[in-house]
């Protein structure tokens, strides 16, 4: 096998694969953010907390209702999505006409409240949650040991991402949504209930965050600050991809996962920073992001 900068190609393949796995979390989360920003013009800072809620919902379902991972992957997004809809009806719907800053401050405040409440009741160390029995174990790929669960994460989140992209960009429902964002008054004139559509979109975006939370529960620690650690990176991903661009969010999510993975090999100390360096460069060259339509 050949070697690159002192690292065998085997190790390199392994690291790339891991980058891809982490990228799928970025993609799933930034997709939700992009959908919400693209359709509602709300910068949803509660996204990290909603991701955390998804993981905790999975934990509660197992602990108090005896429902395992497969139930959680269906139920947790529904539950947390409903909470999202309540938030939208109670607070967000009054903010659409105002500056982005108001939505940002409101959602940021909500995130702090949610995280603080969970920390108060469950502490910061987190709760155990194990990999579902059907996905335990792993495959020896020759160049690395790939846990079955991680493989599932990549495949499943890729499927969810592409389906979402397809629904929004290629179906009639999606075209209504996009039209409603461009010109809500006109779309209403065609007899479409725009406010309800917006509410459901927010609920869907939040459900995506919760889904990512359920998928993260077996591999990351289920703790109140799990979302806070991730949300800043995910925002950087969305900014690099171009605010509101669906495909941009997906591609940058996976792409940055790969780049981060490589950084962890060659210069691990910088692996937390590399995404922000890229963000700065992208903003200098293309202020609207890689896939943004421009202001």
């Amino acid at each position: 096998m050949f070697e690159l900068f002192g690292i065998s190609s085997q190790a390199l393949f392994g690291q790339l694969l891991i980058g891809l796995i982490n990228g799928s979390f970025y993609a799933l989360l930034s997709l939700g953010l992009a959908v919400i920003f693209g359709m509602l013009n709300i910068i949803n800072f509660t996204h990290g907390a909603q991701y955390m809620l998804g993981a905790f919902a999975a934990y509660f379902l197992l602990q108090y209702a005896g429902l395992g991972y497969w139930w959680a992957i269906v139920l947790a997004p529904l539950i947390v999505g409903t909470i999202g809809i309540i938030i939208e009806r109670l607070f967000l719907q009054w903010l659409y006409k105002l500056d982005h800053l108001y939505g940002l401050l409101l959602t940021f405040g909500l995130a702090l409240i949610l995280e603080g409440t969970f920390r108060n009741f469950f502490g910061s160390s987190g709760q155990p949650y194990s990999v579902p029995p059907a996905l335990q174990g792993g495959q020896n790929l020759g160049f690395m040991f790939l846990p079955n669960y991680r493989a599932w994460v990549v495949v499943f989140s890729l499927a969810v991402c592409l389906t979402t992209w397809f629904v929004i960009e290629r179906t009639k429902l999606g075209s209504y949504l996009r039209a409603a964002t461009e010109n809500p008054t006109l779309v209403r004139a065609f007899g479409i209930n725009v406010p309800r559509m917006i509410t459901l979109t927010y609920g869907f975006g939040v459900a995506l965050a919760a889904l990512a939370g359920v998928m993260a529960a077996p591999v990351y620690n289920v703790s109140p600050q799990m979302g806070a650690n991730l949300i800043i990176v995910v925002f950087a991903v969305v900014v690099i991809g171009g605010m509101g661009s669906i495909m941009g969010a997906i591609l940058t999510g996976f792409g940055l996962g790969l780049i981060e993975g490589l950084t962890k090999v060659f210069f691990p100390e910088a692996s937390n920073t590399v995404i922000f360096i890229i963000m700065a460069i992208v903003l200098l060259i293309r202020p609207a992001g890689l896939f943004g339509r421009g202001a």
């Binding site: 690291q15 160390s125 987190g126 962890k264």
Partner: protein, 403 residues
């Protein structure tokens, strides 16, 4: 912003606000600063405030005519935030003693400020052995444990049972570096070899990439030179990637009871590590733990909480004997001169370099079937006698000792 919120909340709880009089006028003010909201919040956090309060109550401060006040704050594991809080506490709020302060980078910064202002600093949460080494000061006492003691306890035990090649997964800040350095020294001294290391950002989320590097190093032991949430995630993901099944072993160099609880026994069983205190070792400790948990949302005390209790007790003893808390150096000198004796750590001493000396313990995490209740997690493997548990006075390079 987060800091302001937590400060305001804590100020409301403890009723601090305007500047208070010095003890010479009747008030001793204890400032408990730690991570109240992040990855170290369960093993330090609000629990340390509870422990300090219990120490004040058990000391019978009110009956002895001492007015003691406790304030708490969140340093968010950031040296700059911590430094600002400590400066405000000392200059404006007239705090006399800073207690706990996990996260070695913050503790090292605070230690310098406390020395300049001539107050007292009792470290329970932070680990870097530099605090009583080159960075020692006449105002700082390092109470509960340190990286040298952890390395000495865990490192030695593992090398002697055949784990002689190591790869380190290190949190990239003062604490991780110190723990890696001290452990590597122990490993090499006992005939082992360090094959490599990787330094991960702090705090981290995904460790699989680093674990994979550790795996390909073919080292027998992967030493986790990190703490709290980072250790939990490393162990969880190591089990996922089949590292333990593949024949390599994990050495948690700093593991707390809250970490084991969060991992669950099925994942954590068999882990060996060094601690200074565990609740289920005698009746006094058990009683303390129950009383503590009742005031701390059911969370049992970590060794850091116990250390805060022990340190505050000894401090109050020294101050009440001196009848003054104004001169930090004098208080610390008194604390060093008086042997320590409290219900949790028993009898001990404080050395010239500021190192508190007591027994350390090597614990092993129980198997799920051995555990009788939710917090029944450890079994004792060995007691490391006080005389061997800490770095010999001469080897630390503390200027207070070498002159």
């Amino acid at each position: 912003m987060k800091r302001l919120i937590s400060l305001a909340a804590l100020a409301a709880i403890f009723g601090c606000g305007s500047a208070q009089a010095q003890y010479t006028d009747g008030t001793i003010k204890i400032g408990v600063m730690n991570d109240m909201s992040g990855l170290y919040a369960d093993l330090t956090g609000p629990g340390s405030v509870v422990a300090a309060r219990m120490a004040v109550e058990d000391f019978g401060a009110a009956a002895k005519g001492l007015k003691v006040e406790i304030v708490g704050a969140d340093h968010q594991n950031k040296p700059d935030v911590g430094s600002n809080i400590v400066r405000t506490w000392i200059d404006v709020d007239k705090v006399d003693v800073i207690v706990d302060v996990p996260t070695s980078s913050v503790a090292l910064a605070v230690s310098e400020i406390v020395k300049d202002k001539n107050k007292v600093f009792l470290v329970s949460g932070a680990a870097a052995s530099d605090l009583t080494g080159p960075k020692c000061t006449p105002n700082t006492i390092h109470w509960t444990y340190d990286t040298w003691a952890l390395a000495n306890g865990t490192g030695k035990a593992i090398v002697q049972t055949g784990g002689d090649t190591w790869f380190f997964l290190t949190a990239d800040y003062a604490f991780g570096h110190a723990l890696e350095r001290d452990t590597a020294a122990v490993v090499e001294k006992n005939g082992g070899k360090v094959l490599g290391k990787v330094r991960h950002p702090f705090p981290g989320t995904d460790f699989s990439s680093f674990l994979l590097q550790a795996q390909s190093s073919k080292a027998k032991i992967i030493g986790l030179a990190n703490a709290g949430g980072d250790t939990i995630n490393s162990i969880k993901q190591a089990s996922e990637f089949g590292i333990v099944k593949g024949g390599q072993k994990l050495a948690g160099l700093l593991v707390f009871i809250s970490d084991v609880k969060a991992l669950g026994l099925p994942t954590a069983q068999g882990l060996i590590f060094t601690e200074a205190w565990y609740w289920d070792t005698n009746d006094v400790n058990r009683e303390f733990a129950k009383k503590f948990a009742a005031q701390n949302k059911g969370i049992y005390p970590s060794m850091i909480h116990a250390g805060v209790y022990s340190a505050v007790t000894h401090y109050l003893k020294a101050v009440s004997e001196l009848k003054s808390d104004g001169d930090g150096k004098a208080v610390v000198a008194k604390m060093k001169e008086t042997p320590t004796d409290d219900k949790l750590f028993g009898k001990g001493t404080v050395r010239a370099d500021g190192r508190k000396i007591h027994d350390m313990y090597l614990f092993e995490v129980k198997k799920p079937e051995e555990s009788k209740q939710p917090w029944d997690l450890y079994k004792l493997r060995a007691t490391i006698p006080a005389a061997e548990a800490f770095r010999p006075l001469k080897e630390g390079g503390c200027p207070l000792v070498t002159g």
